[in-house]
């Protein structure tokens, strides 16, 4: 167990591509930190640098107060779980899990004991003498974790360990990972592209984009006060809705109505000019459900033609369009793929922006009908359209 400190760590590949730029991150002893971002954001490269599988081009990496830049992976005392598990196919589960210990010259009886203990934790006891080829995906995944925990290393590194599992198993293993980490109390760095995984697992989440760290914080912090458009768009599912807005006459003019800036805390609003407004789906509500005193106190009421309603039982998602020229931002462009996959914004047309609202299941909003909706403007996020930074 040890803290891990990255100080302006940079990775430049031979072809000149900068995969990770000046990454600084302090990970406390026993902390569970998630590196999250879309594919190609450098999160895996960062993890592999910590593991020692990639050289560090510049900057300093410390594990437990020792600079380990030039140490080979075997001398860093860290365990890693690979995305594809990387189990040794010619060894049994027992041998796989005991491999590190046997390399370290631990005696046979102790290896057996530790492997048995780990196997018990992971419910693998009856599979110890089988080969990886004969295990199911979930079992292989557990063996990969078992191989890491028998060693009692300084830190666990996990490279998208759940991405090869089916959806149901993934949720189950996610809980398993969280339980394991809190039981063992070992520092863990976990890489994923799945923001749900990041939000549910981590003590702290570090969001990366194009090799640059965007924001580090607790899941709540990232959710409630994203530092820029990218983080705002990446964290949360369904994703935050963005719309262009303009500030004039002391008001924020949104396509759905004008808002008094006084309703929003901690705002340093320019007196004039364009901004980008973000509203999370749950900040919308069916106007009929919202109590009158709340409506009087804050928010805007507007009418919308509902394109589609998805009822999940606990929630109701309503999709509608607003007339808008769209939000142009490099940071959001990076997210387009993710957002399309998530919202399935197929019916996107020129000059319109699709908005998702998460309503109470009791709402009477129906498809292809006009509905009166209320937006909680106290939870409005505003961003600078040029830099993408939070205002």
């Amino acid at each position: 167990m040890s803290e891990i400190v990255l100080d302006e760590v940079t990775k430049v590949f031979d072809d000149g591509y900068e995969a990770v730029k000046d990454l600084s991150l302090d990970i406390a002893d026993g902390e569970f930190v998630i590196l999250v971002g879309p594919s190609g954001c450098g999160k895996s490269t960062a993890l592999r640098m910590i593991a020692g599988l990639e050289d560090i081009s510049s900057g300093e990496l410390k594990i437990g107060d020792e600079v380990v830049n030039d140490r080979s992976p075997k001398d860093r005392d860290i365990a890693m779980v690979f995305q594809n598990y990387a189990l040794y196919p010619h060894m049994t589960v027992r041998e796989n899990m005991g491999f590190a210990l046997s390399l370290a010259g631990v005696d046979k009886a102790e290896i057996d004991q530790k492997v048995e203990e780990a196997a018990e934790k992971l419910d693998l006891v009856q599979h110890l003498d089988r080969k990886p080829a004969n295990l199911s995906g979930g079992q292989r995944q557990r063996v990969a974790m078992g191989r890491a925990i028998v060693r009692d290393p300084k830190a666990f590194l996990m490279d998208e360990p759940l991405s090869n599992l089916d959806a149901k198993l993934r949720v189950q293993m996610r809980t398993e990972v969280a339980r394991l980490q809190s039981d063992l109390g070992t520092t863990m760095i976990y890489v994923t592209h799945d923001q749900t995984e990041a939000m549910t697992l981590g003590d702290r989440v570090a969001v990366m984009r194009a090799g640059v760290l965007q924001q580090v914080g607790s899941p709540e912090e990232l959710y409630s006060s994203p530092r820029n458009l990218f983080v705002a768009g990446f964290i949360g599912s369904p994703a935050m809705n963005f719309m262009p807005a303009e500030v004039s006459d002391g008001k924020i003019h949104l396509p759905i109505g004008a808002v008094d800036p006084a309703q929003i805390d901690g705002l340093d609003l320019p007196s004039q000019g364009k901004v980008v407004a973000g509203i999370r789906p749950e900040s919308f509500e069916d106007a009929a459900i919202v109590p009158d005193e709340t409506k009087n106190e804050r928010g805007v009421i507007f009418e919308a033609d509902i394109d589609l309603v998805e009822s999940l039982g606990s929630d109701l998602y309503a999709y509608f369009h607003i007339a808008s020229e769209g939000v142009q931002s490099e940071q959001l462009a990076d997210l387009v793929g993710e957002r399309l996959a998530e919202t399935g914004a197929a019916g996107r047309r020129e000059g319109e922006e699709q908005i998702v609202a998460r309503l109470e299941p009791t709402s009477k909003v129906r498809r292809r009908q006009r509905a009166e909706l209320w937006a909680d403007t106290a939870k409005l996020h505003l961003f600078d359209p040029e830099s993408g930074a939070r205002i």
């Binding site: 992976p73 690979f82 594809n84 598990y85 990387a86 040794y88 196919p89 370290a104």
Partner: protein, 280 residues
């Protein structure tokens, strides 16, 4: 895939033709080797009388006088040494080529291919002179060196293909688990490449075992002459009889180790050994 009856019978005929083409000469050889010397030229496929006379003649006289025993031992020793050395060197080379980035990597592969394609006969003359000059003419070493030259590229090619198949991640997992590069190679990579290693070993062994050109040119006595060359020096009962029977018997005997070698290692060449290593 469902195979139609018509297609099925066509394939059966095609396979039968190939089998007949390949196996009839061997059967003929076997038949000749089992005939008594007086009936060898009778032209029958199935011998009228079976006799082990020809086989006996091979080993008659024991270690000192048998025309076959020395060459047989030479063949075995030379082929085994060459195979062992070639496999060790080739697995290091192939590993480096498959895993490491270094300048001249392509040149090494291209060079290896060029050497493997080189007609052996063109090197025989120079080798003959060189070996006599440095004193390894008619020695084991004198044969092992050219055999290595030709079999190494072959082994490297086969092994590179196998090493490339092994997921990179496995080796990195081993490194993170605390293995030195050598440990990772020996305990993870090599066991997984075993089918490739055995394939390469069989190919190298067969190449050495079958070679005639070097064996006949670079040896002058039974001290190092291998079987293919020794067969050419067999003598008949008298000056006027061809040693057909004993050559046939010797040919059958030298075939046996190859068959045994392939059968033993064939079991080891199991495909899918790496199944389950990584999700795929």
């Amino acid at each position: 895939m469902k195979v139609g009856a018509r297609e099925y019978s066509l394939w059966t005929i095609a396979i039968a033709i190939v089998l007949i083409f390949a196996l009839v000469p061997v059967l003929w050889l076997l038949s000749i080797s089992l005939k008594p010397p007086s009936e060898i030229t009778d032209g029958r496929i199935i011998p009228a009388h079976f006799s082990l006379e020809n086989y006996k003649s091979l080993f008659e006289g024991g270690w000192s006088d048998s025309p076959f025993l020395h060459p047989l031992v030479n063949s075995i020793v030379i082929a085994l040494i060459t195979t062992a050395v070639a496999i060790i060197l080739a697995s290091f080379t192939a590993y480096a080529i498959a895993r490491l980035e270094f300048p001249g990597k392509r040149a090494i592969l291209a060079g290896a291919l060029a050497i493997a394609m080189f007609p052996p006969i063109s090197t025989v003359g120079p080798l003959f002179d060189m070996w006599r000059a440095i004193g390894i003419y008619d020695t084991y070493l004198g044969l092992i060196i050219p055999y290595l030259t030709f079999s190494l590229p072959l082994a490297v090619y086969v092994l590179v293909a196998f090493f490339r198949e092994i997921p990179w991640d496995l080796e990195q997992a081993a490194q993170v688990d605390g293995a030195t590069p050598w440990q990772a190679f020996r305990k993870v990579i090599l066991p997984l490449a075993a089918p490739g290693v055995f394939t390469a070993a069989i190919l190298v062994f067969i190449f050495c075992w079958n070679d005639f050109v070097y064996a006949i040119s670079l040896t002058s006595s039974d001290d190092s002459r291998t079987v293919p060359a020794a067969l050419a020096f067999f003598t008949g009962e008298s000056t006027f009889t061809e040693p057909t029977g004993s050559i046939a018997a010797a040919a059958i005997v030298v075939t046996i180790p190859i068959i045994v070698f392939v059968l033993i290692f064939q079991r080891r060449i199991v495909s899918g050994l790496t199944a389950g290593a990584v999700k795929g």
